[in-house]
């Protein structure tokens, strides 16, 4: 009887299947994902059981940051972000002409065009709430939102003129605020929106499962 010959093991591992799998994964992430847009402020939204998804276009997001370290007395920042670049450009062109917005620096407007986010003065919002209901004293916050609404109405009107069956582009307002933002700030934002007849909006949250009984 002959002895079994010990085969010399081949140290070369075939990487082709691994490469295949990787390519599949790569394609999946390319197709399924959308690029995360940079946010003007880091915000940790509160958890909610509500599972309604927000559409991905035509959204005006109001970011409300929390002062560092949960300091209630410190003043938070409010940013307005619009996800539509052509409308941002249109808005940025006319922003200086709006009352009270003349103070906005040119750098900030250029930054708005680039990042699609603009910081609004919170002090002005507080002052505006205290004054009489008068359009001329409206804060930058109100002016900008009103202007965006006007732009959308014009677009819709024009689209309707061209084609009566055209679907309307609906601007949605979303508030993204941090868990620890004091209610006084939220109240300021909500009341300001109420003043300009924006009564329907979305509150952005993280998904949380329903508690079990």
């Amino acid at each position: 009887m002959g002895r079994f010959k010990i085969k010399k093991a081949d140290l070369f591992i075939d990487m082709t299947p691994m490469s295949d799998v990787m390519l599949l994964l790569l394609t999946f992430f390319l197709m399924a994902g959308t690029f995360t847009k940079p946010e003007p402020v880091q915000v940790q939204a509160p958890g909610s059981i509500s599972d309604i998804k927000i559409p991905s276009t035509d959204i005006l997001t109001i970011y409300v940051s929390t002062p560092k370290g949960g300091n209630v007395a410190a003043v938070p920042d409010i940013y307005l972000t619009l996800d539509n670049a052509p409308i941002v450009n249109q808005l940025a062109g006319g922003i200086k002409k709006l009352p009270l917005c003349g103070k906005i620096k040119q750098e900030d407007i250029d930054e708005f065009k680039k990042s699609q986010s603009i910081k609004v003065s919170i002090g002005e919002m507080v002052a505006d709430r205290g004054s009489q209901d008068d359009a001329t004293t409206d804060s930058q916050f109100k002016q900008i939102i009103k202007q965006v609404r006007t732009i959308y109405n014009d677009i819709n009107k024009k689209a309707k003129g061209d084609n009566p069956d055209a679907t309307e582009r609906n601007l949605r307002i979303a508030i993204k605020s941090d868990k620890n933002t004091p209610y006084s700030t939220i109240k300021l934002v909500m009341n300001s929106l109420q003043d300009i007849q924006e009564n329907r909006y979305n509150l952005l949250t993280e998904l949380k499962s329903r508690p079990t009984e």
């Binding site: 070369f12 075939d14 990487m15 082709t16 691994m18 490469s19 990787m22 390519l23 994964l25 790569l26 992430f29 390319l30 399924a32 994902g33 959308t34 690029f35 995360t36 939204a45 509160p46 958890g47 909610s48 059981i49 509500s50 599972d51 309604i52 998804k53 927000i54 559409p55 991905s56 409300v64 209630v72 979303a174 993204k176 605020s177 941090d178 868990k179 620890n180 933002t181 004091p182 209610y183 006084s184 939220i186 109240k187 909500m190 929106l193 109420q194 003043d195 007849q197 009564n199 329907r200 909006y201 979305n202 509150l203 952005l204 949250t205 993280e206 998904l207 949380k208 329903r210 508690p211």
Partner: protein
């Protein structure tokens, strides 16, 4: 002189390719978002209507929730005038219960006579929707429309509580969202968010002193 022809190795080393792929996959994993953010839709009343019309709530069925600092919650049933004798502290499900407090969830469920009925409608709907997986989109939409109508009707039928949420300035956004979540969980159809008034603030302060 004849050179010896070397036998070429037909195998290509894929390791660098895999390395590169791994890097690309990691890059896309980190830079993309797969899920759209969740949202909660709310509709606030306009401030053009008369103040009187807005706050007209059937006081017998009113439940007022006061959100205070440090994630504390208080509630009272009925008229604001009787609040002092009615007010109790409760806790959020996410918070740690201390002492023998009840949860806000428990209190609202008990206060809502339509809870069981609405809950049954909701579970029936979920079962029907699961059974209809794979059927036509139109059929599923019809089920959903029917559910919403029945559900909303059950939630706001006569005798259901009207919840008034009054957050103080020191409460947080998280508290507000959690309270709104309780409205969904406890199948409450009628609720409003209003700023806290002086009388309620005084009641709250007095009650906290007795604790």
């Amino acid at each position: 002189m004849k050179t010896k022809q070397k036998k070429m190795n037909a195998r290509v080393d894929f390791t660098p390719m895999v390395d590169m792929m791994m890097l690309l996959v990691t890059f896309f994993m980190l830079c993309t978002t797969l899920a759209k953010p969740q949202t909660m839709e709310i509709a606030m009343p306009t401030n053009k209507t008369e103040e009187k019309n807005r706050s007209q709530v059937d006081t017998k069925e009113a439940v007022t929730i006061l959100l205070d600092e440090n994630n504390r919650v208080f509630y009272y049933k009925g008229k604001p005038a009787d609040a002092a004798s009615n007010i109790h502290e409760v806790y959020f499900l996410s918070g740690k219960p201390s002492g023998d407090l009840k949860s806000l969830h428990e209190v609202l469920k008990k206060a809502n006579p339509a809870y069981e009925k609405a809950e049954k409608i909701r579970t029936d709907y979920e079962a029907r929707l699961n059974a209809a997986v794979g059927s036509a989109k139109g059929a599923r939409e019809a089920i959903q429309a029917e559910f919403e109508e029945k559900f909303n009707e059950a939630k706001s039928e006569k005798g259901t509580p009207q919840v008034i949420i009054k957050p103080t300035d020191a409460s947080t956004y998280d508290n507000l969202i959690e309270t709104l979540d309780e409205m969904t969980l406890c199948n409450i159809g009628k609720y409003v968010i209003v700023p806290i008034d002086e009388a309620d603030q005084a009641t709250l302060d007095n009650y906290k002193k007795t604790l």
